[in-house]
Symmetry: C2
DNA sequence: CCCTCCGTTGCGTATTACGGAACTGGATGT
DNA sequence: ACATCCAGTTCCGTAATACGCAACGGAGGG
């Protein structure tokens, strides 16, 4: 069977794996038809149809009318609630993001470290109507994001070594791919208490991040602002960092961590 | 195969259906072990193990350490983001809920009409530490909730007839099961601009809801406050309704709907 | 140290899901 | 108006696939 390269373990239940792939496709594309899904997964239309039908029966997928394209269904909210219930950053972080996004006019994100990547758990778009994409749930590389650098700089030497031993994949022309240089940057990040990311993830995209501290002074998350390079200039950084720090402290307090 | 009564169409992909059942179980219970999952689904331990393993590979399920119980994984945020991206009420409604919940000290919910039921899309718990359950993603009957009555009162005559023609299932001792009486209540709801729900969904649970208006003056959602009967007394209703109305207007504004 | 309980792995079977092709039913175009 | 096209569904035979069974490995408890 022509599986698209991801067949690692035979122990995977294929239809389930494919069903999740369908959901991921829909989450990425927004919406898609059966034929498109089938093509993307490399399966027959009939298989895709069955898969989608099953997901639809569980309200995880829905279509516009009777005969339209499919998209993620509202039944997914059940699970969204379950995960945000466990993860306080999502619930508590939402208002903090929104407030800061309003003040800065830029997109604000909260990210945590999750198995070697930076996972965005909460987001608020800036006032600028330029609809930045939705990063929630996205896993972004630690070496090519401002949040990632902050989280990595605070991580154990073990975790740092693990990442630095592997290849640093270039995401954009200015991504830092040299481990030695990255180590320098992490050093500075730890000293300064913030990290920037200038067109290292995407061309034209700048970002800054500061750490969020837990009850024991440990770094539990990062809060970042991102926007087009022309708006987030180097000159504006100090001002934004200060705003981020205020938000970070606010978040710590709301999480019930006593801040000094 | 001993399928637990839900076998409707043979056209369902069983393993996918079971996988979703696993996720729903985890969302409901918070966490569970393989044996528990297997027992709940009525499948063999090995089957449950494979299912969970597949979901885990996709980050939809995770376990505490190496050998603990399983719970919904952070990968679910990807989908949560996709659904909240489509549905502005979730993103925008969050802060509104939180603010009102803080002020009232009760649980606040936003619900929309979705294929004949009221679907809770956003929630904030009141200050009272009494952890009310998580309603996000829950589908609740239109005739036994305050939000449902508000949504139904504003629905087309067609939709109203469809519900009223079916049986009104009793959820609690005081649930309205008489279509004639329900029609009266809906009439009053439309006139008053709010609806209450006194122990009609659950014994000891009171709730009030007001409509949220879209740009054309149409009802697009309902915002409700719920709490124990002794706290949400009839006497306190007018005050709460007023607070809800303020929040509703706030929400409309934040959604970009021009309010008169 | 043994016993119990939980989760994983190997294996054989037949259930189950897959792919192919034909069918339906809108939409489009000539 | 008719023919064509494209998207999605249904039917069917096959064999790949996921299932259940039973034995194994590892923690935790007595």
């Amino acid at each position: 069977m022509s599986n698209n390269g991801e067949a690692r373990d035979t122990a995977l239940v294929q239809s389930v794996d494919r069903a999740v792939a369908v959901l991921e496709l829909l989450a990425r594309n927004g919406e898609a038809g059966i034929t498109e899904i089938a093509a993307e997964l490399g399966v027959h239309k009939s298989s895709a149809s069955r898969l989608v039908y099953t997901l639809q029966a569980r309200d995880l997928v829905e279509q516009d009318g009777e005969r339209g394209p499919f998209r993620i269904g509202l039944g997914m909210l059940r699970f969204a609630g379950a995960v945000t219930g466990q993860l306080d950053y999502v619930r508590v972080g939402g208002p903090v993001c929104t407030e800061l996004a309003d003040r800065l006019g830029e997109t604000v994100n909260i990210a945590i470290l999750d198995s070697g990547v930076a996972l965005n758990v909460s987001q608020a778009r800036g006032g600028s109507a330029v609809a930045a994409q939705n990063w929630v749930g996205q896993r972004t590389p630690l070496h090519a994001t401002s949040s990632g650098k902050v989280l990595l700089a605070a991580a154990s030497a073990d975790d740092q070594d693990r990442l630095l031993s592997g290849d640093l994949e270039p995401c954009a022309p200015r991504t830092i791919t040299d481990p030695v240089k990255l180590r320098c940057v992490l050093q500075r990040t730890a000293e300064d208490g913030f990290a920037t990311c200038m067109e290292e993830l995407e061309a034209g995209l700048h970002a800054v991040a500061v750490p969020v501290f837990g009850s024991h002074g440990d770094v539990v998350a990062a809060i970042s602002a991102a926007g087009p390079a022309y708006r987030l200039s180097q000159k504006r950084m100090p001002e934004i960092v200060e705003e981020l720090r205020v938000a970070s402290r606010d978040l710590s307090v709301r999480m019930g961590h006593s801040v000094l």
